[in-house]
């Protein structure tokens, strides 16, 4: 299955050509031994888009061997930082050139609106590539004083080697850029497994990798089922480092596989149940805007989504209706419709998952303030849903939903807010709104999260 397919762009005469093979050594090739493809769907319409090759373990071996050869011969220490910088900048230029096409393809496969994919996801991706292109010739070690006589000591930062990268389906292009940019900048080669739900833009970007002039084998793209390709990368003895973005549950498996195989380096970017605190001194209008954005952006399919909102009791009755009104303003619809500010959730599996949480919220006694009702039309739609009167032990409060579903609670004192916020096994992000500077500092210090 190394053929190309042409996908139609809705409400236009254009078509987007997608190569459906595995991208190894700068060529699209079929799987060597897996005849079963991955079927790719449009979440706005539930329609089949195309089938792409699914990498088997053997394909992963081939891709890893290609990346290793490139690391030994044409990349790694064989290429200067200046040259790496030039190539990464060139790739950024090409993505910028093709941003409309890439945005349309992203919309077809992921559902997010074209204009958001283009002006946010892709713009951010281009910026990210350019940022790391700038670092490529600035990888500094240190010279360290020993005794000025018998010994000089220097630290020499070196590329780790072949990196397996496993990315999710919520920001296909952007996650691709966040992974490839720094890895390439320091001289690593890559075997990239895009999500089997959203492989198309990664395949399209692979064409640009070749056009930019990266030597064969530097970046390889192998769509694959998680339990096959993902597991294989995590356990592969020929890979020096695995980077994974996705759910915490899968992250554990990656970590474990790395440990039991060759102790490869691991970096994980996992889930969150990020708290959002609104203190009484906050600018209510602005805070409501941010709170709405926090849970609705990307239809809530964001690891840092502010999915638990805690409002100080003195402003609760004023704040919540304002928030609800703003949330209702978001138009969730087909991404090719200019009016859409958000799209569907990405797949049937996600759709079922999010709705089961909504049902559980109702069952456990939370109050549905807005949303909570399924649409009848085709497409994996979830409208903005806000639960109030929540308790800490409810599933909707404890578990990551990954949809536009917000739980709203109340607090009295600052310490209570902090305790509520930190009462989670997650710690990806946290937000607070206050015009009291000292409070802002105190609370941000106290919040146990990687981004405040």
């Amino acid at each position: 299955m190394a053929k190309a397919v042409d996908l139609s762009v809705p409400s236009s005469n254009s078509k987007i050509r997608v190569h459906t093979g595995l991208f190894i050594n700068n060529e699209f090739v079929p799987s060597v031994d897996n005849p079963d493809p991955i079927n790719v769907f449009n979440p706005s319409t539930e329609e089949f888009l195309c089938a792409v090759a699914a990498a088997s373990e053997r394909d992963v071996d081939i891709a890893v061997a290609a990346a290793r050869k490139a690391f030994r011969e044409t990349w790694g220490k064989n290429v200067s930082g200046f040259e790496r910088s030039r190539l990464i900048n060139k790739l950024a230029d090409l993505i910028e050139r093709d941003k409309q096409t890439l945005a349309e393809l992203e919309c077809l496969n992921n559902g997010k609106p074209v204009k958001i994919a283009r002006d946010f996801d892709i713009s951010d991706s281009v910026g990210c590539l350019r940022y790391y292109a700038g670092w490529a010739d600035k990888i500094l070690g240190q010279s360290i004083e020993i005794d000025h006589k018998a010994k000089i000591a220097i630290t020499h930062p070196e590329p780790i080697g072949v990196c397996g990268q496993i990315i999710p389906w919520n920001y296909p292009i952007q996650m691709w850029a966040w992974k490839v940019a720094p890895a390439l900048a320091v001289g690593c080669t890559i075997v990239m497994k895009p999500s089997e739900i959203t492989p198309l833009t990664a395949l399209k970007l692979s064409e640009l990798v070749k056009e930019a002039g990266f030597p064969p084998g530097v970046i390889n793209t192998i769509p694959s089922l998680g339990p096959v390709g993902g597991a294989s990368l995590a356990a592969h003895k020929g890979i020096d480092k695995v980077a994974f973005t996705g759910s915490t549950i899968t992250g554990r498996k990656v970590f474990e596989a790395a440990a039991t195989s060759n102790l490869k380096k691991v970096s994980l970017e996992l889930g969150g149940k990020s708290p959002h605190l609104i203190f009484e001194s906050a600018n209510i209008e602005q805070a409501a805007n941010w709170a709405a954005l926090g849970i609705l952006y990307n239809t809530g399919q964001d690891c840092t989504a502010g999915s638990r909102l805690y409002v100080q009791d003195t402003i609760y009755d004023k704040f919540v209706p304002i928030l609800a009104a703003k949330a209702k303003e978001l138009v969730i619809g087909n991404g090719f419709d200019e009016r859409s500010g958000g799209g569907p959730v990405v797949s049937k599996t996600q759709y079922d998952r999010v709705w089961s949480y909504i049902e559980s919220g109702k069952k456990e006694g939370a109050n549905v303030l807005i949303g909570g009702e399924k649409r009848s039309e085709p497409g994996y739609w979830v409208d903005a849903t806000i639960f109030t009167d929540v308790r800490s032990d409810m599933k909707i409060v404890k578990e990551e939903i990954f949809g536009p579903v917000l739980s709203v609670g109340k607090f009295h004192t600052e310490q209570e807010a902090i305790d509520l916020a930190n009462d989670t096994t997650y710690g990806l992000a946290a937000g607070l709104h206050s015009t009291d500077q000292a409070q802002c500092h105190r609370v941000s210090s106290a919040l146990e999260a990687g981004t405040v």
């Binding site: 200046f82 292109a133 700038g134 670092w135 600035k138 000292a438 210090s445």
Partner: protein, 503 residues
């Protein structure tokens, strides 16, 4: 205010094409005549003839430029523009340099006399690399967050100075533009640049590229004028917060003095050198000879870090001198635009006279002219590659920077003595050692009192490795991350988050 256009038809083995671009005093994105309406002649050192005249900038023009630069800093540059945008514009400027490489190289060859091939492969290529390197830094200007105690948030900000003055020399005209603009613009400063009055053409060409790249007006201003008028005005200007100078140590002192007397503006200087090049008995002789030739004869010896004092250990002295001389003899002097020329003329009559004056002093003081020592040809400012031997340490040709294709080759016996002689200079810009014993090479590098120590190479620079002088060769470092410090004002911010005091 009228502008003039410089038009020139190039027709040669290496470049054939027409250039045409506006010249003048470049302030606030526009070209104009200088305030006095006077002009400076631009002379082609290959012929000694005037090629064109360009507007002479004056202290009044500097005042006008400072106003424009200040306004631009307050409104459309500095911290009003994110680093990523500053980086984008610097990259765009690099793209334009690349698109116009041939043109810029041809202007260098015409104005400075260096060969077109060297100008393109070295000067212009390096300029592009430097601009791109600093483009990459623009969005990575980081201060620190420093732990003190929980009631206190302490951090540093690296802010741009504001308006900076930059005075550059004639030996690498366009490359010096890139070394100066790169870090200054990346960090958010606005600039008043004074190119050398001897070689203004490439900098003037760059002015149009600055506009084309999209820098807001006033961010870069270029005022061609004399050192004692425009250079002095910049150094003593109360509205300029920092001055960076590359040139002679003599003038560097004047700049530092003017800065001290006016507003104590921050000063960085990249000055002269008399860099030693030590060749040990166990050197790879081929390597040492080829690099040594590059060390003193490249760019006609008009390089601040030239390896102009060559110390050769006695075991290989005769062999080295013989083959070094052979190589020097084989260098092709000729028209900068000819395909096979290695060396063009010196940049000006003044420089020619100065170099020949020192050569004559060498002869008078009793050194042996082993090779050269005379003018080459009878048109333009060519000087023969010259080698002096049998020198004494106190001779002028051993002490003073000649800045021409004149090497002094000195025999030594003992390594410690070579090191002592090498360091026995007011200068400290660079130094080189040739040896196949790497441990020894590194030990020498550590003991040489120079800002750049080369082991088994000379005159070899990279955009990301710092460069600057010990002792009277300068203050501060250019290139690399270090150059950012030259253009950053460090502010410490202490935010009290709860500490209460009583009286």
């Amino acid at each position: 205010m009228s502008t003039t256009t410089f038009t020139y038809q190039f027709e040669s083995q290496t470049f054939t094409g027409n250039v045409s671009f506006p010249t003048g005093v470049f302030i606030d994105g526009k070209f104009s005549a200088g305030s006095k309406g006077t002009t400076i002649d631009v002379i082609n050192p290959s012929t000694g003839k005037v090629v064109t005249s360009i507007a002479e900038g004056t202290p009044d023009d500097v005042n006008r430029a400072v106003k424009a630069a200040k306004r631009a800093f307050d409104e459309s540059w500095g911290l009003k523009v994110p680093g990523s945008q500053r980086g984008k514009l610097l990259n765009k400027l690099a793209d334009l340099f690349e698109q116009h490489s041939d043109e810029l190289a041809a202007l260098e060859a015409l104005d400075n006399g260096k060969t077109f091939n060297w100008a393109k492969a070295a000067d212009v290529a390096a300029s592009i690399g430097v601009l791109r390197y600093y483009a990459g830094w623009a969005d990575k200007i980081h201060g620190q967050v420093i732990e003190t105690h929980e009631d206190n948030l302490a951090y540093t900000r690296h802010e741009p100075f504001g308006v900076v003055g930059q005075i550059i020399p004639w030996n690498f005209p366009v490359m010096m533009v890139s070394w100066k603009l790169g870090p200054a613009l990346a960090t958010g400063n606005t600039v008043i640049l004074k190119p050398s009055e001897f070689t203004p053409l490439s900098a003037l060409r760059v002015c149009s590229l600055i506009n084309e790249a999209g820098f807001p007006p006033g961010v870069v201003n270029v005022v061609v004028g004399y050192g004692n008028t425009v250079g002095q005005a910049i150094s003593e200007h109360l509205g300029i917060d920092k001055v960076a100078f590359t040139g002679s140590t003599l003038v560097g002192r004047k700049i530092m003095e003017a800065a001290a007397k006016s507003n104590l503006k921050n000063v960085t200087l990249e000055l002269g050198g008399k860099s030693p090049n030590i060749v040990l008995n166990d050197a790879d002789l081929d390597l040492a000879i080829n690099w040594s030739v590059h060390g003193i004869f490249w760019n006609h010896g008009q390089t601040c870090c030239a390896g102009s004092r060559i110390y050769v250990q006695s075991g290989i002295y005769d062999e080295f001198l013989r083959r070094f001389t052979e190589k020097a003899k084989s260098l092709k002097l000729g028209d900068p635009f000819a395909k096979d020329s290695y060396q063009g003329p010196q940049v000006s009559q003044i420089q020619f006279d100065r170099i020949m004056g020192l050569v004559d002093a060498g002869k008078k003081e009793g050194a042996t002219v082993h090779l050269g020592g005379e003018r080459h040809g009878n048109e333009g400012y060519w000087i023969q590659p010259t080698i002096f031997t049998d020198t004494k340490p106190d001779m002028r040709i051993v002490q003073e920077e000649i800045f021409g294709p004149v090497a002094v080759v000195i025999k030594f016996e003992d390594e410690e003595d070579a090191l002592r002689q090498a360091n026995d200079t007011l200068y400290g810009l660079a130094a080189a050692v040739f040896t196949t014993n790497l441990t020894k090479g590194i030990q020498f590098a550590h003991k040489l009192q120079a800002g750049t120590a080369w082991v088994n190479c000379v005159n070899s620079l990279q955009p990301n490795v710092p460069f600057g002088g010990y002792k009277q060769s300068g203050v501060g470092r250019e290139l690399g991350e270090y150059a950012l410090q030259n253009y950053s004002n460090i502010k410490s911010v202490h935010v009290n988050l709860g500490q209460v005091i009583q009286f």
